[in-house]
């Protein structure tokens, strides 16, 4: 038991406080970020607080050094099983150079009140490209984007119940096997 404890302490000491290139860049501009394990191919992944998202993206996009001006996607991931969070993931590229960065905003699932959705600030005001991506993420994963100009479902019908890409989603009406003659679906 004591040995195990020692080992675990050693591990903590051994691991250096890693910080990636973009994490360092953000730190220089006074924005704290957390480094996550790299994506396959050595792409840097950082995690940001929801409140820092807009300011961080503004700097990363406009600075000559990073110039991450191509928003590839905004995706939502239901990682409640592995980490207990809902993730809003931003893949950023650049039109002019080879920079690549993945930003994750993690919202703890147990901090989300019952009957409400995890909320992340919208970036549509600075990036029109995010408009449809955020609507889709809201529609399929159920992440609310605060400040979105038109926060409605985009792929499913507007009266759809639930968010299909959550791992606990159960389809309420079975369109193929529904035998109820009064059902409109």
């Amino acid at each position: 038991m004591a040995e195990e404890k020692e080992k675990s302490i050693e591990k903590i000491v051994e691991a250096p406080p890693e910080i990636g290139r973009f994490g360092q860049f953000l730190k220089e501009h006074g924005i704290a970020s957390e480094k996550l394990p790299d994506a396959a191919g050595g792409i840097e992944v950082i995690s940001l607080d929801a409140k820092n998202l807009q300011s961080a993206l503004k700097i990363l996009r406009s600075s000559e050094e990073t110039k991450l001006d191509l928003l590839i996607t905004v995706s939502g991931v239901d990682s409640r099983q592995s980490g207990g969070t809902f993730d809003s993931v931003y893949h950023l590229w650049s039109y002019d150079n080879l920079n690549e960065l993945v930003i994750k905003v993690k919202i703890k699932a147990d901090e989300v009140e019952e009957d409400s959705l995890p909320a992340v600030p919208s970036i549509t005001n600075m990036w029109p490209a995010a408009n449809w991506h955020e609507r889709e993420t809201y529609d399929l994963v159920g992440i609310k984007y605060l400040g979105h100009p038109y926060p409605r479902r985009i792929l499913n019908p507007w009266d759809w119940d639930g968010h299909p890409l959550r791992h606990d989603y159960v389809q309420i009406v079975d369109a193929l096997n529904d035998k109820n003659p009064h059902s409109f679906r």
């Binding site: 792409i43 039109y95 993945v102 490209a129 399929l140 792929l155 791992h167």
Partner: protein, 379 residues
């Protein structure tokens, strides 16, 4: 109370009109909610989702092997690229080596697919503009030959399931290669033929010049990629800027127009024509460089296919732009999450800006020139 009329101008109300979803020129089911002031568009909102088939949901509820057969239905005109994007994501995650022969075959069939996709676009675009008779059969004649070749090598004319995680499905025989060579030799003349009919055609010029101008800054804000943005003044093509597979070994040019103030619909047309010629060059080189012997796949193709835990995002340059696949795996039989970055989805979102101020007659000319395919938008 005075009832005199103060102005002689006739007051007209704005009108809201639905265009689609069953409009023949939308090639699928796109509904556009137009606010019209007489003939002119004041506001346009594309309404999508009519073709939503829950492809991302299928990704996390099907095994890897099942899903790779399903996924080239997303963009049925360029299925090779969708398979390729998925295969690349899984390979980079799995640290799986792809044999060189398979890489050459991938490039070859993908470039064939790029040509066949552009050919269909060319034919239908001219139909949209009103050239109903005659012309569409020219590009379809060549497309038919390509589809026959696809049928022989992949077993299907459109949903190929040819590019697999780790490699490709099967090797072509000599007769097939010979037929493809014959195709590449005559194709250049065929493109000259299309150009002789269309490029300087006065009616075509009148319908396409100076409309649907997409400025570079606007395109960048909306994340537009592919030929549509290369017509507006950037040379971004993943095959050159972030080279993958065997593209660095091949000689080809990326065509783009230095027009930061914006390319019009004619510019987007001419760019696709030039792209077809380049693809033809690439196929010719692949035919010469293709190793005659060797492995076809670095991974066993059976129902027990697994991908190591982790996350990866990979992308390929599809005929419509950057096609990306974001995959999260925990090493089990199904993925945790599949997320697609579809070029049509992003390119379509800029349409509401492009249409404002143009007459109804130009809507289809502009929409067609962006080359959006609706199943790719709705997934």
């Amino acid at each position: 109370m005075s009832t005199e009329i103060k102005s002689t101008e006739l007051k007209t109300d704005e009108m809201i009109i639905n265009m689609g979803p069953q409009h023949p020129a939308t090639h699928g089911v796109l509904r556009m909610l137009l606010t019209l002031d007489g003939e002119f568009v004041k506001h346009a909102e594309p309404v999508i989702g009519h073709l939503h088939r829950a492809q991302e949901w299928q990704g996390q509820n099907r095994t890897w092997f099942q899903y790779q057969a399903l996924i080239d239905r997303v963009d049925y005109l360029s299925g090779m690229f969708t398979s390729w994007a998925m295969a690349r994501s899984c390979e980079v995650l799995d640290e799986c080596e792809v044999p060189e022969r398979a890489e050459y075959l991938r490039v070859m069939v993908s470039e064939m697919n790029r040509i066949s996709s552009h050919l269909l676009w060319l034919g239908t675009y001219l139909i949209d503009l009103g050239a109903m008779f005659g012309f569409p059969f020219y590009p379809f004649r060549e497309r038919e030959k390509l589809l026959d070749l696809f049928e022989e090598i992949a077993g299907q004319r459109m949903m190929f399931n040819y590019i697999r995680i780790g490699g490709v499905q099967r090797a072509p025989n000599d007769a097939w290669l010979k037929r493809l060579k014959a195709f590449t030799e005559e194709f250049e003349d065929r493109v000259d033929e299309y150009e002789a009919i269309v490029t300087e055609n006065p009616i075509f010029l009148k319908r396409t010049k100076e409309i649907g101008i997409l400025p570079l800054s606007l395109a960048k804000q909306y994340g537009v990629t592919g030929p549509s943005i290369r017509a507006s003044g950037t040379d971004m093509d993943l095959r050159k800027t972030k080279p993958y597979s065997v593209y660095p070994k091949l000689e080809f040019d990326v065509h783009w127009l230095d027009k930061p103030e914006g390319g019009d619909t004619w510019d987007r047309y001419i760019l696709r024509i030039r792209e077809m010629r380049e693809s033809n060059k690439i196929i010719k080189q692949c035919l010469d460089m293709l190793p005659t012997e060797g492995e076809l796949s670095g991974k066993k193709q059976n129902a027990g296919l697994r991908v190591k835990a982790g996350e990866a995002f990979s992308s390929v340059e599809s005929p419509r732009g950057i096609l990306g696949c974001y995959v999260i795996s925990d090493g089990k039989d199904k993925a945790i999450r599949f997320r697609w970055r579809n070029p049509s989805f992003c390119n379509l979102s800029v349409l509401s800006e492009l249409l404002v101020g143009s007459p109804i007659a130009d809507i289809m000319a502009i929409f067609g020139s962006v080359d959006v395919i609706l199943p790719d938008v709705d997934r």
